[in-house]
Point group: C2
Chain length 391, copies 2
């Protein structure tokens, strides 16, 4: 067997990149039939047909050639208009850069900011990919756990401050949070920004769940509300959630236009742009997709309430009612091996959930359930889960 030698010859940060604990359970369950897939961050709806049609038409029209590395002008303009509608100021196209997924936006943001040997602070529990990408880049993720108590999840900004060293370059802020649903208030965003300014840190702002917000107003508080143009903030975002386009792999970065050439170069030297026919779909999503977003958010809110109700009534599940995003992150009294529980729920409840172990420090005793689905399906799945937990 040649394998050990070849593996051993790899660059160690690549060899040591962790398997995704989410993909792990998906691979476990995917080949079984009839499992309700609540493990990933995606819903039950396929991409709406008006979006699909735009891509199909562009394909048929032969838009299959290389295109602008920053994204086609029409899509960057549509991103500017979308942000102008939702984020309280006039945005311009030169602030936006189209990427091959929210994940690639994160990778590029880290390549721009996180030197080898530097430290990247990541509040946890968190979607694991930012930490893993940090490691692959040769930097060190520093986890700062949120607290879970009777007032739900809380971020202690003093703990973030205490984690800063002279090697810290970046603070990754995901709000609303996947998996906890915790969402920073405007005051918290202001405090975090002040901290970043004082230590000259970059903030990588992941606000992809901004629209999935169950509080006042049509979106969650945003760094856009509190920042100045010259703050060191890179926004990473995706088409995946708002418009049910998870499988497309298309996202964007919002950044100060002075960084445009660097972002373009990093796109060029990683995937060299995004298919033009996909970008046409993005334009339509941004321009005509508001009703669909509203429908999705309304369903998610209803499903959230159902999941909280059914799992709450088991008497064994503890959680904070999520303020944003579309996950219920819950612990189960008496259950400590969450990967084992995840497999048991696949086998016995035909429900695919992600074990909290996949989400870093503070998540070890939780399960993540994605409720971005038809409320009836969530009711069914939660009833089956409750039955297993009550056995």
């Amino acid at each position: 067997m040649p394998s050990p030698d070849l593996l051993g010859a790899l660059r160690s940060p690549a060899r040591e990149a962790p398997e995704s604990g989410i993909v792990d359970i998906m691979n476990y369950g995917r080949q079984r039939g009839g499992v309700m897939p609540l493990w990933a961050g995606e819903g039950d709806l396929p991409t709406p047909s008006f979006i699909i049609d735009a891509a199909a038409q562009a394909l048929a029209a032969g838009e299959t050639f290389y295109t602008w590395q920053r994204g086609i002008p029409e899509l960057r303009e549509a991103l500017a208009q979308y942000h102008t509608r939702h984020f309280g100021r006039v945005f311009t196209a030169d602030e936006f850069f189209v990427t091959g997924s929210g994940m690639q936006s994160i990778q590029i943001a880290l390549a721009m900011t996180a030197e080898a040997g530097s430290e990247v602070i990541i509040p946890t529990p968190a979607w694991p990919n930012a930490a893993a990408a940090t490691g692959i880049a040769g930097a060190r993720p520093v986890e700062v756990p949120l607290q879970f108590g009777n007032d739900g999840w809380t971020l202690d900004i003093e703990r973030i401050a205490a984690a800063i060293t002279d090697r810290t370059r970046v603070l990754v802020m995901v709000s609303p949070s996947n998996p906890t649903g915790w969402t920073a208030t405007q005051d918290e965003l202001r405090e975090l920004l002040a901290l970043a300014r004082a230590h000259r840190l970059w903030i990588v702002a992941d606000e992809i769940y901004s629209r999935f917000w169950y509080g006042e107003g049509a979106r969650a508080p945003s760094f856009f509300d509190v920042m100045a143009p010259d703050d060191r903030i890179l926004f990473v975002n995706t088409f995946s959630k708002n418009w049910a386009m998870t499988g497309w792999r298309m996202g964007w970065i919002a950044a100060n236009p002075s960084l445009g050439q660097v972002v373009e170069n990093l796109i060029q030297y990683s995937t060299s742009g995004v298919a033009q026919f996909m970008q046409r779909a993005g334009v339509v999503a941004l321009k005509q997709g508001e009703d669909f977003v509203a429908t999705q958010v309304a369903r998610a809110r209803q499903s959230r309430d159902i999941a909280c109700d059914i799992l709450g009534r088991t008497g064994r599940c503890r959680f904070a009612i999520p303020k944003g995003a579309f996950y219920l992150f819950f612990s189960v009294d008496g259950e400590n091996d969450m990967p084992a529980l995840a497999r048991r729920l696949v086998d016995e409840a035909q429900a695919g959930l992600a074990p909290g172990t996949a989400f870093g420090a503070g998540g070890e005793h939780f399960m993540r359930l994605c409720f971005a689905r038809d409320p009836k399906q969530i009711e069914e799945a939660c009833t089956r889960i409750a039955k297993v937990l009550e056995m």
Copy 2:
């Protein structure tokens, strides 16, 4: 202006990544009308409709969800069959990994092998992206120029050997070469492999132009012809050229299956996979695309001969007749500022060529012309270019 401060705060390998000299001239010319685009590595044909239809059908069927990070099983199996047909042994699906472009394949291969501070040897002139990606990864590209003489382009393997230091980890071998058309013989591949074995280097084998080969047989010599299963070779490839899918951004890696989990993790933490509806198109391309490949290669051969003839007759152009790939790389007696000549050809000949300065050491005095087009178009463009050069 906040710009200098923000730029200055970036990680230096990102800030210092070079602009692509190819994209630079494309951006210059793209907004002018009527320029024949011979600057990029793509032809005039849109993706064939049987390939487009497969994607459109998958889209209409709602294949818009997350999928396997290594690629869908059907596509990995089709890649195995394609390689079995063309590369002289039986391949299996577990040797193949679907990526979001040939460029991403290179990025992942470098992430697997090129530590920060290590050296990566790249024979030049070469498509610039591998060197740029090396720099962004924090490693150092070491250029080893080929010689251009009366016997065309030649690789002196002694010069590669002389460039190896104790920091060298990787040798990037592009054969057939973009931009020179130089193609390694089987003996040269054997010698390069022996050198890599002796120094325990990884080879990143870019054989994306393998089918665009004007010598004996249906493809160029390949490392697959000379290697053992446990050799440290990562093959990077793309759907772009063979099947006119440049704009799709879809490629693959072929590697020893023992490296599979690492490749999967690197895909997960960079773009998290490729759209399933695009992969359906890839399956059809591999299974039903042979006639189309043959047509493209025949056209390219004819166009190559026309370009060589017309530019040769100016008496000012010097080049080696390319053995593979689809570029004519030529110098022009008396012309030294190739970026300026590129702009002049856009303005005066309505022909978009890439200046050789974009291709590293040894390419400074050349121009690259992509001839993967309708022979009539190549005749027209070359006639216009010749007229400008003869003024």
